[in-house]
């Protein structure tokens, strides 16, 4: 079985903790050897997931917790963000995401519609489960390692 390190954090579902998790993400990603650009992408994606989670908790007046799990693998970082607060209508949200299109009028523009879109744009793989609370599972690969693996393959064929 593939070995990995696992780091778990639990924070109150409040906006002031989004920055705390962002700093932790930055530390873990830096440790793994992600580039500056990739770390910035990870910070935005994870903050988006967390902002969503804190918003749900707020709406249901549930001062709950958000659990964040980091799976540190050789070639990738998997981040899970889970809130047990109120679930949302995933189909509706999926329908609402996407970049701004030129034919949209400004009046119709969604003020909060870009979070999930950015997560999908900035991460390599995104899964959302909505059965029991909301779980967002995001993966970002270390691209340097992929190159290394290819290098090895080339040398062993000789």
């Amino acid at each position: 079985m593939e070995s990995f390190d696992f780091i778990e954090m639990k924070v109150p579902a409040r906006a002031e903790y989004v920055g705390v998790v962002r700093l932790s993400t930055s530390g873990i990603a830096n440790r793994m050897g992600f580039s500056y650009e990739e770390i910035e992408d990870l910070k935005v994606a994870i903050s988006e997931a967390l902002s969503n989670a804190t918003e749900h908790a707020y709406k249901t007046e549930d001062d709950g917790e958000v659990t964040i799990g980091f799976g540190v693998y050789q070639d990738r970082l998997e981040v899970m963000v889970a809130d047990r607060g109120g679930s949302f209508d995933l189909q509706k949200i999926k329908k609402d995401i996407g970049p701004y299109e030129n034919n949209q009028s400004i009046e119709d523009l969604r003020e909060g519609g870009f979070g999930l879109f950015l997560i999908e744009a900035l991460m390599d793989k995104v899964e959302i489960k909505n059965d029991y609370g909301v779980i967002v599972l995001m993966t970002k690969y270390l691209h340097e390692n992929e190159v290394d693996i290819n290098d090895d393959q080339i040398s062993t064929t000789q």
Binding site: G19, V44, S47, E48, P99, Y100
Partner: protein
Amino acid sequence: MNLNIDRNDNGDTQELKLAGEIDAYTAPQLKEALLPLTKAEGTMVVVDLEGVNYMDSTGLGVFISALKSTKEYNSDLRLVALQDRVRRLFDITGLDSIINIDSTVRGGK
């Protein structure tokens, strides 16, 4: 992990100079400072983002609200001196085509 907001009142031009991070925690502060400025007809609201080193969709949401407000009150909104990372979010989401963004102050693209 905070946001500093400085306001410069030059009559018809109102400038907000931001420094720090715009996220779920600080976005409400920005909204509170920015939206009232857009409600004066004929005003040019300039938001200087040179000191902003982090922003996510909560910040985009505030600027969308402000843009809508400028259409309603016949004022103008301009974002200037964006760092590349912040500018990138407007590009990815396509919002650079409707929000007046000027990165040249920082010698950008």
